[in-house]
């Protein structure tokens, strides 16, 4: 049994493999002491190896994991597990976003990460959903129901939030504001993808890939086909587990 653990900024994800078979995936919130949470997740399991990735990887390594790989490598391996032909990968998580280009053999040839800022990440969407009074799950479908976006100028989480409040007070429909906020995130992501090698397809991983509005707007703006794995938030953990298997 091999286990991959992704200690992300917002959530902990774990993938368990038995030989070639993905046995199960688990996820919990990161909480205050992520590595202890992770040890909790591992209770009762008897893995051969545990490989950690994500923000908390080094702490996990100090405490229980047998090795680490970066999120870049983990998402590459994970994306290839779900889509063996993947060449360009976009991962958008709680606190960062990244684009990775692979060669045919699946080796990383180039990657990019967002600046030290919440714009273009899951955290931005989360805060904006809350400021409109919706849950994250409602937020995407809501944006999809509009075909007209309100003007939002700021990508800064703090400023965008005050823009949202002022639009609300001007009676702009919530769905239009939601669409605009999604577009703001998408335009950031498009900018990152465009700086990389061209590719006709894109594999989209990370929790934000569950958001249907982001997926559809990305597809529309990039003009490429976007593939989302069945368990997008677990791609990193799956990748780490796959790496464990090769050791």
């Amino acid at each position: 049994m091999d286990i991959g653990i992704d200690l992300g900024s917002r959530a902990l994800k774990m993938a368990v493999f038995d030989g070639d078979e993905l046995l199960e995936c688990r996820m919990v919130e990161s909480g205050f002491t992520p590595h202890q949470q992770a040890e909790e997740l591992l209770k009762g399991l008897k893995p051969h190896r545990v490989i950690a990735t994500g923000y908390g990887r080094h702490l996990a390594h100090k405490n229980f994991a047998s090795g680490v790989i970066t999120e870049i490598k983990a998402h590459s391996l994970g994306a290839r597990y779900f889509f063996p032909q993947a060449m360009t990968i976009l991962d958008v998580g709680g606190q960062d976003s990244k684009v990775i280009t692979l060669n045919r053999e699946g080796k990383v040839v180039n990657f990019q990460m967002n600046d030290k800022c919440a714009a273009g990440t899951g955290r931005f969407l989360e805060i904006m959903a809350a400021s409109l009074g919706y849950t994250l799950a409602e937020f995407g479908p809501m944006a999809l129901s509009s075909d007209h976006e309100a003007p939002i100028n700021s990508m800064c989480t703090v400023f965008a939030e005050s823009e949202v409040i002022s639009l609300k007070n001007h009676g702009v429909p919530a769905a239009d504001i939601a669409r605009a906020l999604h577009l703001a995130v998408v335009s950031r992501l498009v900018g990152m993808v465009r700086r990389m090698e061209e590719s006709a397809t894109l594999v989209f991983t990370g929790g934000v890939a569950r958001n249907p509005a982001i997926v559809s707007l990305l597809q529309e703006r990039l003009g490429v086909e976007v593939f989302v794995p069945s368990l997008p938030e677990h791609a990193g953990a799956v990748g780490a587990a796959l790496h464990a298997r090769t050791l």
Partner: protein
């Protein structure tokens, strides 16, 4: 780990009109950082002891030497850039000291006056003077500035209010008329130094100075060559430190100490011994200068288990790759030879500057590196834009490549660590 301390000289600092209380905190922090980053390394060459001592005495011993020199009427010039014709200063029996500009601690002092969105090195250096927290700044007769990038060029005007700042015009292209201009500037600078010291520089003195600085540059070249061995006989951090000390130490003594260290490294290489196992990934850094105490990238890369084997940087090969032809005792010819050497510096402030791309590829090969990290200080437009050409060249040659733009703040350390580790995974294949 041995006990290490950057030594305190509060009385002397008072004499130099420094903000002693604040400075003393900085001193303690420097000692702590040095212990953690440098002294924790296993397997360090023994001859690093001299350079440890130089850091321990950075705010004392060396400053005393400078104060003594001043008493003897020798000119002491503060510098920022490798375009300073050091030979002329040394010919007048003077001393050049590279001023520190690598610490986040002095930036708030600078930002009280300067705009925030300019190069951190310029801000840091300016802040050291504005806050009176650098003994070197306090001791110099004047600061040598030059018209390289806009951030520096315009900062000199403001810095001049705090300390006399002499500015040389550096051309932006390398045509014949640019060389003529630079030669004129070199002559003016000679006149300036002669005015400060009150003595004319003879061609014998200049010939001697050329020899001294060639000797220092050759010692550094030798160190660079030794780092090409696999396993690398010395860490990138230690080599960077030596390259930094090169800017404020006494040149003859420094060259001798670097050569002593090189003898030890030679012996190490002959035995196949290294600072890390042979399997450690080898990385070269290229880009903007890394002024003391900027150890950020080296520390991150080497903490991730790789070794840095070359710095294509002003604190690095750009400072010592070229020598001045020796042998002439004709002042005109000597100054022409000196000008030719300085015109070969491939700083990104020049356009076009394709020599640098060629040089980066050459050093990559010579140092047997396996990947290149381009490092540019934030808001350094010339290096940030020239980065495009370096990146393209690396893509063409199939060289693993990572570009980092960063300042001195610790904010981005987590993200940089991930990017550097991912880059090393990429190099590993």
């Amino acid at each position: 780990m041995q006990d290490f301390e950057v030594k305190a000289y509060p009385e002397m600092w008072h004499e130099l009109n420094m903000d002693v209380e604040r400075f003393d905190k900085a001193r303690q922090m420097l000692g702590g950082a040095y212990t953690k980053i440098f002294l924790s390394q296993a397997n360090r060459p023994q001859k690093m002891a001299y350079f440890d001592e130089m850091i321990s005495e950075i705010f004392g011993g060396r400053v005393k030497e400078l104060m003594q020199a001043k008493k003897e009427g020798r000119p002491v010039v503060g510098t920022f850039c490798v375009y300073i014709p050091e030979e002329i200063v040394v010919a007048a029996n003077g001393i050049c000291v590279g001023l520190c500009g690598g610490s986040p601690g002095s930036i708030p002092d600078a930002e009280k006056i300067l705009p925030r969105n300019i190069c951190p090195m310029v801000k840091s250096a300016f802040g050291f003077k504005a806050g009176r927290i650098c003994p070197y700044f306090q001791v110099v007769d004047f600061v040598y500035g030059e018209t390289t990038c806009d951030a520096k060029k315009k900062t000199w005007e403001i810095l001049d209010r705090l300390v006399p700042t002499y500015v040389m015009e550096i051309p932006q292209m390398k045509k014949e008329r640019d060389r003529t201009l630079w030669l004129e500037e070199v002559k003016d600078f000679k006149a300036k130094i002669e005015a400060v010291s009150g003595k004319t520089i003879s061609s014998e003195q200049l010939a001697e100075a050329i020899k001294i600085l060639n000797g220092k540059r050759q010692a550094l070249q030798r160190l660079t060559k030794l780092r090409a061995a696999n396993p690398a006989p010395i860490s990138g951090k230690d080599a960077l430190l030596i390259e930094q000390i090169a800017f404020y130490d006494e040149p003859v003594r420094f060259a001798a100490k670097v050569n002593e260290l090189c003898d030890e490294l030679d012996a190490r290489a002959a035995k196949g011994e290294g600072i890390l196992p042979k399997s450690a990934l080898r990385v070269m850094v290229s880009g903007t200068p890394m002024a003391l105490p900027n150890w950020k990238i080296h520390n991150l890369v080497e903490s991730a288990g790789a070794v840095i084997v070359n710095e294509e940087s002003c604190i690095g090969t750009r400072y010592f790759k070229d020598l001045i032809t020796e042998g002439s005792l004709d002042m005109e010819k000597q100054l022409a030879a000196l000008t030719d050497r300085y015109m070969r510096i491939d700083c990104s402030c020049f356009t076009p500057n394709d020599e640098r791309v060629t040089q980066v590829l050459k050093e990559y090969k010579d140092s047997a590196a396996q990947g290149i990290i381009h490092y540019s200080l934030q808001f350094c437009h010339t290096y940030n834009i020239e980065e495009i050409k370096i990146r393209e060249a690396c893509q063409r040659e199939g060289i693993p490549y990572l570009s980092i733009e960063s300042d001195y703040s610790p904010d981005d350390v987590g993200q940089l660590q991930t990017r550097i580790e991912a880059f090393l995974e990429q190099v590993e294949g």
